[in-house]
């Protein structure tokens, strides 16, 4: 049996109380939401914290999906399963349901949260790629109030985010743009529930003439950070979507990423997948935008 090192445990009853505890305990404490990344790391003693602050009781406060006219707001404690099952969310951003279908397994999805996934900041993390694709921003709260950062700012490095030791990620905000839009997600994995070898999300917004008003691609598992690829957006804007455009986007994706060889695959293969999956998801996103 793998057992963690000794730690103390507290259940937070409100966001403010959690922040209070973090203020007091600093870097010796860690928030635990779903725990599906943190607890295995603690059991393997790769992560050792003196204090664990359980925020699962904050699901009532931070578990929500609110659709507004120009923005979707999702609470950080919203569980994978809730993201997967929300028809309203799938209607606006089908990329979420695509991704959730291939994230881990039902046991993990019942417990794991959007905020936990983002804060874990694993380079292979699917929801980071989804949020990057959708140009999401992150609401971080501390004792002195809230601040809002972009996904680029949020991701500092592998397993590192803009959330300070005394702060908590409370909400993800995703802009809803006018016009027809579509999004999609694709992942290659060695086995169901495995981390991605590579995955890609794509979102497309079309103008009245059916030309691309905006396009975004987010990749996971091909570099230290999940970041958008502005060059793809620039290359696609204003054009009518077609196969040659997808190919161009794929080529940009392949040369813009920085994968490394590991047991999941060679860097070369991952670069190829960045290309292939960019094309596939863009194709699907356009298909959805037009339908």
């Amino acid at each position: 049996m793998q057992v963690p090192a000794p730690f103390e445990y507290e259940r937070a009853t409100s966001v403010d109380q959690a922040i209070g505890l973090l203020e007091r305990l600093g870097s010796s404490a860690r928030l635990v939401a779903g725990g599906h990344s943190l607890l295995p790391m603690m059991k393997l003693r790769l992560a050792n914290f003196e204090y664990l602050i359980d925020i699962n009781d904050l699901h009532g406060e931070l578990g929500y999906i609110r659709l507004g006219a120009d923005e979707v707001r999702i609470g950080a404690m919203t569980r994978h399963r809730e993201l997967l099952e929300s028809d309203a969310l799938a209607q606006v951003f089908p990329v979420f349901r695509d991704a959730e279908k291939v994230i881990a397994d039902p046991i993990v999805r019942n417990r794991g949260t959007l905020g936990g996934s983002l804060c874990q900041a694993d380079p292979s993390e699917d929801l980071s790629a989804v949020c990057t694709t959708l140009d999401a921003s992150c609401v971080i709260r501390g004792a002195n109030g809230e601040r809002v950062v972009s996904m680029e700012e949020f991701h500092v490095g592998p397993y590192e985010t803009a959330v300070a030791d005394n702060e908590i990620l409370t909400e993800i905000r995703i802009p809803v743009k006018s016009g027809k839009s579509g999004s999609a997600y694709a992942k290659v994995e060695r086995r169901a529930g495995d981390w991605a070898v590579v995955s890609a999300g794509a979102a497309i917004w079309l103008d009245d003439k059916g030309h691309i008003h905006d396009a975004r691609v987010g990749l996971a598992a091909v570099g230290p950070n999940t970041t958008g690829i502005p060059e793809i957006s620039a290359a696609l804007r204003g054009h009518e979507p077609d196969e040659s455009l997808f190919e161009l986007a794929g080529a940009i994706a392949a040369r813009s990423c920085d994968p490394s060889t590991d047991t999941r695959g060679s860097a070369e293969y991952k670069r190829h997948l960045a290309d292939e999956l960019t094309r596939r998801t863009l194709r699907k996103a356009v298909e959805r935008a037009r339908s």
Binding site: P6, R190, R191, D194, T263, R264
Partner: protein
């Protein structure tokens, strides 16, 4: 007897047969499942004894390093700690080293140096698991890191670091050379052949990864001088004898108990240092001590399987008549030679690499070497290296088909050993007991719709889609002994069985073999039921406890039904013979005038005059007269020594689709036709086949224990070492033919490992077939998307 509710897709006839058989063979729900499915099983980790302490093991972070010093003082002072034991402590007791199953020695705790990452360096015994684990962090070990030998191909180079400096005079990493077949004759046949095809084929290191990891609870009673050991073992009797030899405790004072076991697959055949640690821990502290390894420990330190690099060559005529096969194998045995195989068979039963084909000659040369990796080489659902042998021959036959531009099914049909050639002696000396290969192959092809599949494939290829059809046809050799040829450390591979019929006609049968999930409590009850006519529900199967079962070598290599199944049938017949004598006395007729129909004896010509086995049981124990000179009671015991192995066979066909863009492989269909001789419980057989096929998908597509150049194990968790889920496998399509074994009392052959042996080549052959448009004839496992993509670009590389 409970019958299975009829699922719509199962042929009704099988249940009709069953309904007419309240006793004996047929589909029957597993007796043990009432317990296991309700969470009432009792596994080693469920054992709780008063005052029990807990043990945790400190393992080496390095693959190869001298131990400079170990400071245990801080750990000893840690809360709850009762003992900290190092190799030096054990050395003083003469227990630092123990024999392996292959007559090598293995460190119980490292003394001089560590030889693989994860090797046992010290252990802590404490009041609870947390305290034991926390104290490990406080043991300070100073290592002097040495260059490791990781690439098996470099192990014998003159400048390679010497791993086994503990062996006197050892100045290389050589373990053994082994040879079988006739080299000269094989070379002659090759020289005259029209076609010779050569391919380097790697069977990578994989791990059995049973759901339950290994563990033990040792309870040494210093007053009685008796050791009770609950442990995860597939071979409790063999382990008892080895503990007697290693620990010096008299054998009659050792009781090994294997309670419910959560999967073995060969992983629980060897004795691991952890078991010995728990014994030492109990002797030192005077308390019961539990050791239960965690998942990572299981994956990095316990018995692996395979790890063969094989150069295969096949010679044939232009028309596709296979003439000869030869192979040269480099075997990676890790840091200690812990292979579980009969002593005279250092390469297990690899000699059956000649497959199911009628050859003129065959030859194999093998060299085994030490590397800085975990020891083992267990029979991981492979009947002693038959998995490697079958993979070799079924892969190289497909390569030949590719070169001859022949259909692989046609090539196999053309070369099968024919029905009338059995018993058939292969060119490597194995005597196949029985077989009728063509009907099995034809049935699989018919179930698959083979010709239609080839048509569909041609159409898809024309559209640029990648579809592959893979075939494997295997012959296994299972059920070791005979004892004259086969022993483990001098213990002959024969198995005892005891049967007692109680006065009321209920029975208890005691076995030397031990189930790890295969359903022995049902299958063996059915065997006795078939012979005696006592319903299976009235027969208790006792196994796993050395104080309460007869001696025998245990369950692995698909040997339970071939060996103990025969023992059970024969012991029941012995009881029946005695029952018949009692019946003749009760019915007052001569023995010759008695008819036996299942469950009762009657007077010939007067069926109304009869006695049941239950009547006889009461008479045997009762006050009534017995025939002159007969003792009371109704029981018997035997020790069965098989005269030969049994040789099950099967035809497997796999259909895959490969995504040309991402190189992902999807197993679309899998047809498995097995011939394991007489079928005792078809439901259990199908369950075993389903499990083995799933295992095969894992090995073919994702499983591999790999290492980095420093010898760090890269498969130390189930996030890194992947095993397949229900989502990676299709609905299995199973079928069967029945060719009974001529020497087995009920004609049964083993089946537990057939599917694990037979499925990997079918899947790999299917993937390679799908890649035919790229001009590919071979790619090594595991066929992960990345490796398939390499193959598509003509850059297939060996995994090691």
């Amino acid at each position: 007897m409970t019958t299975v509710q009829e699922p719509s897709q199962v042929k009704l006839t099988e249940f009709e047969d069953n309904d007419q058989k309240p006793v004996g063979f047929g589909r029957m729900l597993r007796k043990e499942d009432a317990r296991l499915l309700r969470g009432r099983g009792r596994f080693v980790d469920d054992v709780q004894l008063p005052g029990m302490l807990h043990l945790a093991i400190l393992r080496s972070p390095f693959a190869h390093a001298n131990i400079v010093s170990i400071d245990t003082s801080a750990a000893e002072a840690s809360p709850g700690v009762k003992a900290v034991v190092t190799g030096e402590t054990l050395k003083g007791l003469g227990l630092a080293w123990m024999p392996t199953l292959s007559n090598d020695v293995q460190a119980v705790l490292a003394t001089d140096k560590v030889r693989f990452q994860g090797q046992e360096v010290a252990f802590v015994v404490a009041e609870d698991r947390y305290q034991a684990r926390d104290a490990l962090e406080l043991i300070d070990v100073e290592y002097d890191v040495l260059d490791p030998v990781i690439d098996v191909r470099r192990a014998l180079e003159p400048d390679a670091p010497i791993i086994r400096t503990d062996l006197e005079g050892k100045n290389d990493n050589h373990v053994f050379d082994w040879e079988t077949g006739d080299e000269e004759e094989t070379n002659r046949v090759f020289a005259e052949a029209d076609v010779i095809v050569k391919e380097d084929i790697v069977y990578p290191r994989v791990h059995p990864a049973p759901m339950e990891t290994c563990g033990s609870v040792a309870d040494f009673d210093p007053v009685e001088g008796k050791l009770r050991l609950w442990s995860t073992t597939q071979a409790p009797h063999a382990h008892r004898t080895l503990y007697a030899i290693v620990a010096g405790i008299p054998e009659h004072k050792i009781q090994v108990i294997a309670p419910d076991i959560g999967g073995g697959f060969g992983n629980k055949v060897p004795i691991y240092p952890g078991y010995v640690h728990s014994i030492v821990g109990s002797i030192v502290t005077g308390k019961p001590v539990k050791w239960m390894e965690d998942r990572s420990e299981n994956l990095i330190s316990t018995g692996f399987a395979r790890d063969y690099i094989m150069r295969a060559e096949i010679a044939a005529t232009r028309e596709g008549k296979i003439l000869a096969i030869r192979t040269n194998v480099l075997a990676d045995h890790g840091a200690f030679n812990g292979t579980a195989a009969p002593v005279k068979y250092p390469a297990g039963f690899f000699g059956v690499f000649t497959g199911s084909y009628d050859l003129q000659a065959a030859h194999c040369k093998m060299t085994a070497v030490y590397t800085n990796k975990a020891p083992g080489g267990v029979a991981y659902a492979c009947s002693f290296r038959i998995t490697e042998a079958v993979y070799l021959v079924e892969r190289i036959v497909d390569v030949l088909a590719y070169e001859l531009q022949m259909d692989p099914a046609e090539l196999r049909l053309k070369n099968f050993i024919q029905k009338d050639q059995f018993p058939y002696t292969t060119k490597t000396g194995w005597v196949y007991d029985s077989g009728d290969y063509e009907p099995t192959m034809r049935l699989a092809m018919e179930m698959a719709g083979y010709d239609e599949l080839r048509k569909e494939q041609a159409e898809k290829r024309a559209r640029g889609e990648l579809m592959g059809i893979g075939i494997s046809f295997f012959t296994e050799a299972v059920g070791a002994g005979p004892r004259k040829d086969m022993d483990i450390l001098g213990l002959g591979m024969a198995d005892g069985c005891e049967l007692r019929v109680h006065p009321t006609g209920k029975a208890v049968v005691r076995l030397s073999v031990k189930t790890q999930g295969q359903g022995h409590e049902t299958t063996f009850a059915q065997i006795i039921a078939e012979e005696l006519g006592i319903p299976p529900a009235d027969i208790d199967v006792v196994h796993g406890d050395t104080d309460n079962t007869p001696f025998g070598l245990g369950t692995y290599g698909s040997r339970s039904t071939p060996v103990s199944g025969a023992a059970a049938a024969l012991v029941a017949r012995k009881v029946r013979d005695k029952a018949k004598l009692i019946a003749s006395a009760m019915l007052e007729v001569s023995v010759a005038d008695i008819d036996w129909v299942k469950g009762s004896f009657s007077v010939k010509g007067d069926p109304g005059k009869s006695v049941t086995i239950q009547d006889i049981a009461m008479r045997a124990h009762g006050a009534g007269d017995l025939p002159d000179g007969m003792e009371g009671g109704l029981e018997a015991q035997i020790c069965y020594n098989p005269s030969n192995l049994t040789y099950p066979h099967g035809a497997y066909i796999c259909v895959v689709d490969v995504d040309p863009g991402t190189a992902e492989v999807k197993v679309r269909r899998f047809i498995a036709v097995d011939d394991c001789g007489t079928r005792i419980n078809p439901m259990i057989i199908e369950g075993q086949v389903h499990g083995g096929l799933t295992d095969g998908v894992g090995m073919a597509l994702m499983e591999m224990i790999s290492f980095d150049e420093d010898g760090n194990c890269l498969g130390a968790s189930l996030m890194d070492y992947l095993i397949p889920t229900a989502l990676e496998v299709p609905d299995w399509e199973t079928g069967y033919t029945v060719t009974p074994s001529p020497h087995h009392p009920i004609g049964a052959k083993g089946v537990g490992e057939s599917a694990t042996v037979g499925s990997p080549p079918a899947i790999v052959n299917a993937v390679v077939d799908a890649l035919k448009p790229y001009g590919i004839r071979h790619a090594d496992m595991p066929l992960t998307p990345s490796r398939v993509w390499d193959a598509m670009r003509g850059q297939a590389t060996p995994p090691i």
